[in-house]
């Protein structure tokens, strides 16, 4: 063999050994796979091609001149996942702790640029000790390359962040600005600053897990979309999510044969909703029964649980599902719930994924706590998201649908192409008690028997308006259906809407209440 070939083989060998035996052993001890093991497991066997293996930093200060950082601490390349091309960048914690320097950043950003141009999803596997401080300004500007690349690719290709190790400091804006964030239960951490910085700047003692772990982001902050057990689970679930997504915004998601007939009636839905209008129930009971094979990939299940979002299929067609959850806060829409729904609706719209909106919600939350948090500007995001969205939208009103919540959950004129309502539906401006107490205030006050008059008037209002028929008479509800017909109607509506096309005048974008 020629010497130059041997040299190449030796160089490759050296880089593939990553940070060396000791560092690799440390990675395993921490319960993590190495970057190369993750890549190996993620891509279909034998399809991965690495690029930029020999890229090297150019810093000489602080002893960096002789410092070899294999692959610059990030393995980049492309290959097939579920038979379709995907671009990935996997940070290597064994190589100088996967620190983010100028060329580490350049590899990352170029991978996203390439994925955007090729129209393929990008998956980033985050496991980094943070900024490589030895590189000073070069590191700082490289963050901008990354953010710029990913933001310019946003809405063109799906981008998924996998928090498999730490991702702290400004770097944490990278995962958060991708479309979906997966976080490993024991090893994934994300934060604007880690515990040491919080201690020195604020004097607060807090451990990494409490500050930046899954409870922090999947429950409290709403930054994490899916919590996974470990590296294997993380990569499996990522593949599962990718199967729902198109390669880019010019495609529709792949339709598959799920073997579940579009015409399947669901008799268990008749009588499922409690007759007592104040009684809650679990909306998952409805979702699981109507989607293909009961398969629902829920997003953000632990944040703002009063709404449910996720992906499912109806007669093999990928669909984004948005639903109220009466079992949590009565299904009321608060600030967090509105944010959760709005961003999901916009993602689905960007990637040609039809929406099915199922609701049973009394209202947007009122009162000082939510008012002062800004329920108006947060709730507005839902209105903007649905009205802006041009993908097929089908709405099903299960029971309560009052006031702003009727509009916010995608009624006919906030964007629904087809609206169905169950016979249990109560669709009107406000509940009977509220309406009667306003309309008949004088009459009730001056009556000799105010309670009797009040009850009579409430009942009159209820009989007239608390049903689906007034809205159906005006055509705001297309059809009042039996609950067991729900799946059939949704599937048929999505068939009708398959080639829906909307033309609107040019504008840069709407001024959504961010």
């Amino acid at each position: 063999m020629r010497k130059i070939y041997e040299e190449l083989a030796r160089k490759r060998e050296q880089i593939k050994a990553m940070g060396g035996e000791k560092a690799v052993a440390g990675q395993k001890k921490a319960g993590k796979w190495t970057a190369r093991e993750r890549i190996e497991y993620f891509f279909d066997s034998g399809t991965f091609t690495e690029i930029g293996m020999f890229v090297k930093h150019r810093i000489t200060a602080f002893g960096m001149a002789d410092k070899d950082v294999p692959a610059e601490g990030v393995v980049v390349g492309y290959g097939k996942v579920n038979g379709r091309m995907v671009m990935a960048a996997a940070e290597d914690y064994t190589a100088m702790a996967g620190t983010f320097g100028e060329y580490h950043g350049k590899k990352f950003a170029q991978a996203i640029d390439m994925a955007k141009e090729m129209g393929i999803p990008f998956v980033g596997m985050n496991d980094s000790g943070g900024a490589r401080l030895q590189e000073g300004m070069d590191t700082l500007e490289a963050y901008a390359w990354l953010f710029r690349s990913q933001n310019l690719a946003s809405g063109i290709i799906p981008q998924i962040a996998l928090l498999m190790g730490p991702c702290l400091g400004g770097q944490a804006y990278h995962p958060v600005m991708q479309d979906f964030v997966f976080q490993c239960r024991k090893t994934g951490f994300m934060g604007i600053a880690g515990p040491a910085f919080v201690k020195t700047q604020l004097g607060i003692d807090i451990d990494l897990e409490t500050l930046c772990g899954i409870e922090a982001h999947a429950v409290k902050s709403g930054c994490t979309h899916v919590v996974v057990e470990d590296d294997r689970d993380c990569l499996d679930k990522t593949k599962e999510l990718l199967a729902f997504l198109p390669q880019n915004n010019g495609e529709k998601p792949a339709r598959i044969d799920t073997g579940d007939a579009a015409g399947r009636p669901v008799p268990e839905l008749d009588g499922l909703v409690p007759e007592h209008s104040l009684m809650p129930y679990d909306m998952h009971e409805i979702i699981h029964r109507i989607v293909d094979s009961g398969y629902f990939f829920e997003i953000m299940p632990d944040f703002a649980k009063n709404v449910i979002i996720g992906f499912a299929r109806f007669s093999g067609r990928v669909t984004g599902v948005v639903a109220s959850q009466p079992n949590w806060m009565g299904g009321v829409i608060d600030c967090n719930a509105a944010d959760k729904v709005a961003r999901f609706v916009r993602f689905c719209d960007l990637f040609n994924i039809p929406l099915v909106n199922i609701h049973d919600t009394p209202a947007f939350m009122i009162g000082p706590f939510e008012e002062w948090k800004g329920i108006l500007r947060h709730g507005a995001k839902m209105l903007y998201a649905y009205i802006d969205a041009t993908v097929p939208k089908v709405t099903v009103i299960i029971r309560k649908s009052f006031a702003g919540a009727y509009l916010g959950m995608c009624c006919k004129d906030t964007g629904a192409d087809m609206v169905f309502a169950w016979p249990e539906a109560t669709v009107t401006i406000v509940g009977a008690e509220t309406a009667a107490s306003v309309i008949f205030a004088k009459e009730i006050k001056s009556a000799g028997n105010p309670e009797e008059v009040k009850a009579k008037r409430i009942q009159e209002y209820r009989d007239l308006y608390e049903n689906p028929y007034r809205a159906a008479e005006r055509g705001y509800i297309d059809e009042v259906i039996m609950p067991h017909e729900t799946r059939q109607r949704i599937c048929a509506a999505l068939d009708l809407l398959e080639n829906k096309s909307v033309a609107r005048p040019w504008r840069k974008y709407s001024n959504i209440n961010l």
């Binding site: 209008s277 104040l278 009684m279 809650p280 009466p326 079992n327 949590w328 806060m329 009565g330 299904g331 009321v332 608060d334 009394p362 209202a363 939350m365 009122i366 009162g367 706590f369 309560k400 009052f402 509940g431």
Partner: protein, 69 residues
Amino acid sequence: MNVTAPMVGKLVSLSVEVGGRVRKNDVVATVESMKMYVRIYAPADGAVKEIKAAPGDLVNPESVLMVLE
């Protein structure tokens, strides 16, 4: 650990007593708010150390309904 109401409302009922054990996500109380019965769930496994609200009380996100240990 404190159990608080997620929203403003009127406490309708308590489903536990002092000394009783609860598992995470058990319903421990019901609040009426926004024309709905809102279930309050135990945030963790534990025993009910103290109950700090009674049916009929107006509660809000800052109200401690009970304390678990």
